[in-house]
């Protein structure tokens, strides 16, 4: 028998049992979609999130946060700990800036220019700015993308050299000079939004914005990421009361658990769907075998071998699986553009790699072929005389 004939003959049978075939196709489609998205989410996490954080300061650092503030002495103590390369403070304050649509909140971030690149997770500070200079001095500031351009229209709201007036601590107004416009950045090392922040020199910050020389965050940089847990314990012991100490690695691990859970849930859905579909295919093929006993007898009488009959039934399962797979892959491709998991400022969208697509294609097909193999073998083994006498 020719391959084309297996396909055409099986196609007619699939079309004859349209209702059952459509049910099985939908099942395969759900299984394939859930499998592709489940694995795609995991892959996205690895590629977009974990890899990104791993490359930045976050992997080998510890963050200490205290609402009351950390002093230069606290930062110095942290920097003296074993396995610590250095430590620096980040002062943060909230302010508002006037726009055509009213006032919008911004975060003022003040960090020693020597540590700005580490804080932002960039190798070269020139990567940080779209225009102007990346390191603000004196009353200069670098403003985030959501501040210097309209988020919806992209219209430029501020330019380098302009004066930016901020309202700090209620009614007090502070005017600063825009020296740089930051590139749209999303998440940076610490997990804050660069796009909604204004960066300035700490000395000027403690003069104009906050009179208290304290930092809301201290960043402790380790010599190696593997010391994070041990050093975090020591930092916790030495930090002022009510300080929150966390390692981005731990945070990443928690997010990873969450993302993996979503992925597992989707994979589980896929496994259940695959199981149900395989049972459906098994059931459908078994019924088909019983209904077509006499047909099998006729096929054998006219010269079809047992192998031909086996392959005819398996081809039916294959056609159903491939139809479901095609629909599932199209749906996955669409959903991978529309569906995402928000993690900090990132939108984690499923990544469909060739490996994931190959697995998505293989697993449901293999499950359905395995399910169809039992009734197909029964059909192939039918004794032609019994089959022809079957009532």
């Amino acid at each position: 028998m020719r391959v084309r004939d297996y396909v055409l003959y099986s196609l007619k049978s699939v079309r004859e049992r349209r209702g059952r075939s459509v049910g099985a196709i939908i099942g395969v489609m759900i299984a394939a979609t859930a499998l592709a998205l489940g694995m795609g989410i995991g892959k996205a996490f690895q590629e977009v999130f974990a890899e990104y954080l791993g490359k930045t300061l976050a992997a080998s650092s510890i963050f200490v946060m205290n609402a009351a503030g950390l002093t230069d002495a606290d930062v110095l103590i942290f920097s003296q700990l074993p396995c610590v390369k250095e430590a620096f403070g980040v002062a943060v304050s909230q302010a508002t800036v006037a726009t055509a649509r009213g006032h919008r909140s911004v975060t003022i971030v003040a960090v020693d220019p020597r540590h700005l690149a580490e804080l932002l997770g960039v190798a070269d500070l020139n990567e940080f700015v779209e225009e102007g200079i990346p390191v603000p001095r004196g009353m200069e500031v670098v403003v985030g993308a959501n501040i210097w351009q309209d988020q919806e229209t992209g219209e430029r709201l501020h330019r380098v050299g302009e004066v930016l007036t901020l309202r700090v601590g209620g009614r007090r107004e502070v005017s600063l000079l825009i020296a740089g416009l930051a590139k749209p950045g999303g998440l940076r090392g610490m997990g804050f939004s660069v796009d909604d922040s204004i960066f300035m020199d700490p000395e000027e910050f403690f003069t104009l914005i906050s009179r208290r020389r304290v930092y809301q965050v201290a960043v402790v940089i380790l010599t190696k990421p593997e010391y994070a847990t041990e050093v975090a314990k020591q930092v916790r012991a030495l930090a002022p009361p009510r300080s929150r100490v966390f390692t981005p690695i731990g945070m990443v691990a928690q997010v990873e658990v969450f993302v993996n859970s979503v992925g597992m849930l989707l994979t589980f859905t896929s496994a259940v769907s695959m199981g149900v579909t395989a049972l459906w295919v098994f059931d459908s093929m078994t019924i088909s075998t019983v209904q077509r006993v006499r047909e099998i007898g006729v096929l054998k009488a006219v010269g079809f071998t047992s192998r031909d009959v086996l392959l005819l039934f398996l081809t039916e399962a294959l056609l159903i699986s491939l139809a479901g797979e095609a629909a599932g892959l199209i749906l996955s491709a669409l959903l991978s553009r529309l569906v995402y998991i928000p993690v900090f400022n990132l939108r984690l969208k499923p990544v469909l790699t060739p490996e994931i697509l190959a697995l998505t294609l293989t697993l449901p097909v293999a499950a359905n072929l395995a399910a169809a193999a039992i009734p197909a073998r029964a059909a192939a083994r039918l004794d032609p005389v019994r089959a022809l006498r079957y009532e």
Partner: protein
């Protein structure tokens, strides 16, 4: 050398508690080009005999030789399928056409099994349908055809491979007398014009007029072989047995 040669053929169905002897020590010779009827009451072994000659079933003992091939010694599925596909055409009482396929596609089935090129097999299938006078019904499904037409499609399916032998098991059993006659005329035409050997299992002794010889089976045994001159004797014998059967 006869086309069909059976020597000491037994068929015993043994299902543990039950032992049914379907054929007992059957010796038959059928020459090439003969039209032979196999008659006998229900359960006499007519269908079993046809199945064994056609390679659908195996004899328990004995030798079955068709066109020089020792069918009884064919063991592999592939060999048996090749034998059935190349040498034998089956026609059944219930036609056994596949409902979802058109007449043409049904006729093409043996050629699909043979792996023939689609264009070539379409030509052959249309030729077979033309031979049975149903070329115009090629694209109709069995449900759209009468019983007589369906049986003619089944005959076209049997002859499409140009077999040496047609095994027809009660081919008119499900047809009215007019259609039965049409089918028998067709068998006669195939036999006379193409020289196809036909073995016809039937209850209907009226069909004997089409046949060169008749083999009478009783309880799986050959009870007699009758040529045209002795058909009256066979009919009388069968009627007597029928009366005896009715009185008991």
């Amino acid at each position: 050398m006869p086309l069909i040669e059976l020597r000491g053929v037994w068929k015993i169905y043994d299902s543990g508690s039950m032992r049914v002897v379907a054929l007992r020590d059957v010796d038959i010779d059928v020459e090439e080009g003969e039209f032979v009827a196999v008659v006998g009451p229900s359960g006499s072994g007519k269908s079993t005999l046809l199945h064994i000659i056609g390679g659908l079933d195996r004899p328990t003992r004995g030798i079955v030789r068709v066109a020089g091939i020792e069918v009884s010694s064919l063991r592999s599925d592939t060999e048996l399928c090749k034998y059935r596909n190349e040498l034998v055409g089956f026609v059944f009482q219930m036609f056994y056409l596949i409902p979802r396929l058109t007449a043409l596609e049904n006729v093409e089935l043996p050629l699909i099994a043979r792996g023939l090129d689609p264009r070539e097999r379409r030509t052959k299938a249309l030729e077979a349908l033309r031979l049975v006078g149903l070329e115009h019904r090629a694209h109709h499904r069995p449900a759209e055809m009468s019983g007589g037409e369906q049986q003619r499609v089944a005959i076209a399916r049997a002859i499409v491979t140009e077999p040496k032998l047609i095994l027809a098991d009660e081919p008119t059993g499900n047809l009215d007398s007019a259609n039965a006659r049409a089918v028998m005329d067709l068998f006669e035409k195939l036999n006379k014009a193409l020289g196809v050997t036909i073995l016809l299992a039937t209850h209907n002794l009226e069909l004997l007029s089409y046949c060169d010889r008749a083999i009478r089976l009783v309880d799986g045994k050959v009870a007699g072989i009758y040529d045209r001159e002795r058909y009256d004797e066979l009919i009388a014998l069968s009627s007597k047995r029928l009366r005896e059967h009715d009185s008991t």
